[in-house]
Symmetry: none
Subunit: 186 residues, 4 copies
DNA sequence: TATGAATGAGGCTTCATTCAT
DNA sequence: GATGAATGAAGCCTCATTCAT
């Protein structure tokens, strides 16, 4: 693992434990086992570190979604695959998940980062739009629908992180997904 | 408006615009038109200011909920009244709403404040529990249900703040509430 | 003497001894006997301190010039009075003089400071222009003339600081002024 | 052009644009198209780079003076040749000229460099001393005379850099030299 | 109640320099 | 000769808080 990766890994952990604003770059360097200057050799400033982290986290999530979506057919099953992918990913990477939540709620990202994220998730968003256009989903405004999905997913993920045993109880999982699906389905 | 209130009003605004950590007490004092010392005369420290703010914001929300709930009968209509109260309150006090969201996502409050909040919202939570016990709601874990409701409500409120015209379109509003209700109802 | 003045006085000294860039604000605070924060309470940043210093130094010089010019008549005598005022001021305030030289040579000032300086010295510059218009001075470009005068004056001042006894030797002083005058006179 | 020369050329430019203290060695390396280590491969440290630069600049000036002085007889014409050489050199190498000015005003050089410079300019200084001894110049202290000459020359050079057309207007050039000569001549 | 100058620990960042490749 | 990741001391500045008035 390169020093750059050490820094990124330490940063997520501390950001989640203490919040971005309450985590000094000096602490990140120290706990990553590198010199203060090394952090700034790899990232021009603290903000850039946060942005790089966001990209790497969302990329990890996206990979999981695409993997789990591969070969699934039937619209409800596809949405279910995405839902399970997010929840599964969150349970496997609780730190990354919590960081993603923090960021979505608070931090203002660079325009550049925002653009890259939009490009990355274009296909997934297209999947959701299909549900709207086919009338499978309620006739809600598109952006509202996205927000509701995101918020619902976040809660499911959070709950499963705290109660990982749920993942082995298909009927409870199905109930949670039902709550998700019902909030969207027409 | 007393100086204390000037400080509180300026603080919410700045906290929302810049985040709590990025808002110096000096800026609050300056924009509130008081001296730096005055802020610390009314609040022992910055954290106390934040906690006082949270209490006053949630109190304002609770008053609205209780007012709108008064005299409503029928379980679904009661839940609907709460939903409409929160959304209506958010549209009338967008700043307060945004502040509430920030706080819920990030800030660690005093144990004392947490206890007061719990006491304040006891009745509302009892209303939700009733839905679980009567089997009206899905058989989801209680805390999960609370989180889902909260997240759903937040999204509805956020959307209505950005598109206030929705409040005058009963059918769209009904559709949004349907999304909320369906996610909970058995 | 206020803390603000302590800071200014310490700053000129250190800037002259070490150069502006090589003088940490922390050293200024320490040697002025104030806390680091105090410096930044009075000046928004190091640059603002430098600019404030320049204004106060040039103001001191201007007062001396105006005092010594008061009541003098005859063009050559007036120019001589200015020359003597600058040299006398430099000998009395060697630190301020050296600081002025450094600044003139190197530092980029705020547009605002530049404007104030121009306004302050308008009358003195008008005196020089008179010499040009009356044909008393060589028909050199105006800005060139100003620069030559300034450079000549600087050298005279510097020499007199290092050899203050010259101020009591009228004939040597006259010879130095002659060198100045001859470089300008037609 | 060797990498060493690339570094030197980039360094003068940046030193002039930003000042020596405000120019990071990393920026020099980058804009010179070499690695950070390469700079320190050719110069033991930043100071050594500055000293090397000073020597090369002054050497370039001296060559020009000696070339233009060659074969000129008559004391005033010799002084005039030096004056013209400096001005001409400055116009041809404005960057080098500005760097020389900065250095003369501010930077502390190595004792070794100072000694070399003194040796290089011994002959030129001897030329000036001759004017003092013969009574051609005013009976001013020797060091004062040198400083005045230097300052005058600097202003002439600076003016001609900004108004290069002057070099083709013999009468204006003569007037400027007259100002120089008059300040020295008895 | 109200003021605002003063404090100083601590945050972010810079940069000359080293060294293994 | 050339590279560039790594270093860490040191610089500038912020800001919650105090206290004498």
């Amino acid at each position: 693992m390169s020093k750059r990766d050490d820094i990124l890994a330490t940063a997520v952990r501390l950001f989640v434990e203490q919040g971005v604003e309450n985590t000094p770059t000096a602490q990140i360097s120290r706990e990553a086992g590198v010199a203060t200057g090394t952090l700034f050799h790899h990232f021009p400033n603290k903000d850039a570190l946060v942005n790089a982290l966001v990209l790497s986290v969302k990329e990890s999530l996206l990979e999981r979604i695409e993997r789990d979506l591969d070969g699934v057919s039937g619209y409800r099953d596809q949405i279910r695959a995405v839902w399970l992918a997010v929840v599964g990913w969150a349970v496997e990477h609780p730190l990354l998940y919590r960081f993603k939540t923090q960021i979505d709620a608070m931090v203002q990202l660079d325009a550049d980062t925002e653009a890259q994220l939009e490009a990355m998730f274009r296909d997934v968003m297209q999947l959701v739009r299909a549900g709207l256009e086919s009338g499978t989903f309620k006739a809600l405004p598109e952006d509202y629908l996205f927000q509701v999905m995101d918020a619902q997913l976040s809660q499911a993920a959070r709950y499963c992180i705290e109660h990982p045993e749920v993942l082995d109880q298909p009927e409870r999982l199905e109930l949670m997904f039902a709550s998700f699906w019902d909030s969207l389905a027409a």
